[in-house]
Amino acid sequence: MHISEGILSGPVLLSGAALAAAGTAIGLKKLDYDRIARTGILSAAFFVASLIHVPVGPTSVHLILNGIVGILLGWCAFPAILIALLLQGLFFQFGGITTLGVNTLIMALPAVICYYLFAPFISGKKTVAVAAAFACGFLCVLFSALIMAAALIFSEENFLEISAIVIVSHLPIMMIEGVITAFCILFLKKVQPALLSQSGQYKNGY
């Protein structure tokens, strides 16, 4: 989920880069050296998971998973997603240098928002956790699509129709992300609940 090079205007690119830099700075500040190896390896896992294509009718979409990134990493989602995008840029040329900031913001800001909204419910009862996880996956993609649309409209007012297409075309992806996030969180709760409770340790300054 990213905007290609050459589309956004200078002010949007620069403000996106500035906000992404601020978010990354906060993320790095919260990330102490004991956690870097873990964050890096999880970032690698998310990078690989984003290569998974799931079928939707006749076509397929790739997973985004920024909801789960947010739940597991909190503010560290900013540096983790920045690195993942850098890797995508170099391995597949999906996005270059100038859009790195905006694209980081598009994916990481919703992750952090969803972390604050839903992480407290994930460790709760099973039904609550599943509902929260679904909402987390769903809303995270929705917020991303909204930021993406805003970036397009602020660049060029005639991008209104394109922004509308962007949001509408992400509706099925929101559903899929919601379902996958819900099942994934349920799976993690059953198989390795420690992974989820560790996200809580960020709050206590771990």
């Binding site: 290609s4 090079e5 050459g6 589309i7 200078g10 690119l13 990354t24 790095l28 990330l31 050296y33 004991d34 870097i36 190896a37 873990r38 890096g40 390896i41 999880l42 970032s43 690698a44 896992a45 990078f47 690989v48 998971a49 290569l51 998974i52 799931v54 079928p55 939707v56 997973l63 998973l65 540096p79 983790a80 690195i83 993942a84 850098l86 890797l87 840029g89 170099l90 391995f91 597949f92 040329q93 270059g96 240098i97 100038t98 005639n158 209104l160 129709e161 394109i162 297409i165 899929i176 379902v179 996958i180 996030t181 819900a182 099942f183 994934c184 799976f187 993690l188 198989v191 992974l195």
Partner: protein, 252 residues
């Protein structure tokens, strides 16, 4: 699954000091991103194309990658001619095609490909390990560089884990379809991947602690700015200045 197709080679560009290439790519990309005229954009496209040719990388791979990346741009070619007002209009059945929309879509295409070709030519021609050390030398925060290095180090390992999991579900007869079962299965694949990644992270961290890790990846690479690197930087800055000058004086 994941590879760095352009990272190794023995061309003039591959031999330039990576620090110079990163600086050149950043300055050049932002300058091109701010241009809106046809003349500067065509010039930038040509500059990027020539830089790419000088890298002597497989053009077939480059074209394949660029074709994939231009998918999002295609949307603009479909929507903008119908919605972007200005210029001459041409009726086409029930809709009208605006000339300004076509021009704008063409500009976006030129700009996007110029920036991406510069990325391939200047930065994709080094491995991520080199990029990490380079960013470290360029005063990018140490933690971020370390995070980049460790992600790069493990992305291939995790990709292997992923392929193992996929093999095992295929052996059990899994076929992806648009069903809840498929989504559930993929969710479990992601979950398993995260668990294996997390367990590996603990082992890696413990191993690093045992070896006295103090929070820095030491770089043994000795970056040397030879005459060629300075010439490269002067040429790229010259081209950037030319593009910007064309944008200011010849905009149409």
């Amino acid at each position: 699954m994941i590879e760095e197709p352009f990272a190794t080679g023995n061309s003039a560009v591959h031999n330039i000091d990576p620090r110079f290439r990163v600086i050149a790519a950043v300055v050049y990309s932002f300058a091109v991103a701010l241009c809106y005229g046809f003349v500067p954009l065509i010039t930038a496209f040509a500059v990027s194309a020539v830089s790419l040719l000088m890298c002597r990388v497989s053009l077939k791979k480059v074209l394949k990658q660029l074709a994939l990346v231009n998918g999002f741009i295609l949307l603009f070619w479909i929507v903008l001619p119908l919605t972007y007002p200005g210029g001459a209009t041409y009726p086409l059945g029930p809709v009208t095609i605006h000339q300004a929309g076509i021009a704008f879509a063409a500009k976006i295409t030129l700009k996007s490909n110029a920036i991406l070709m510069a990325l391939i030519a200047f930065i994709a021609t080094m491995t991520l390990a080199t990029l990490g050390h380079t960013l470290g030398r360029l005063k990018v925060p140490e933690k971020l560089v370390f995070l980049l290095m460790i992600t790069y180090r493990y992305v291939f390992v995790i990709a292997q884990e992923y392929q193992k999991i996929i093999k095992s579900i295929k052996i059990r007869g899994f076929r992806p379809k648009t069903t809840l079962h498929t989504y559930k299965t993929f969710a479990y694949v992601v979950g398993m991947l995260l668990i294996r990644a997390s367990e590996r992270a603990d082992r890696v961290y413990n191993a690093m602690r045992c070896r006295g890790f103090k929070g820095t990846y030491y770089s043994l690479t000795d970056f040397q700015a030879d005459a060629g690197s300075w010439i490269f930087l002067i040429i790229v800055f010259g081209a950037t200045t030319a593009v910007v000058a064309l944008e200011i004086f010849l905009r149409f």
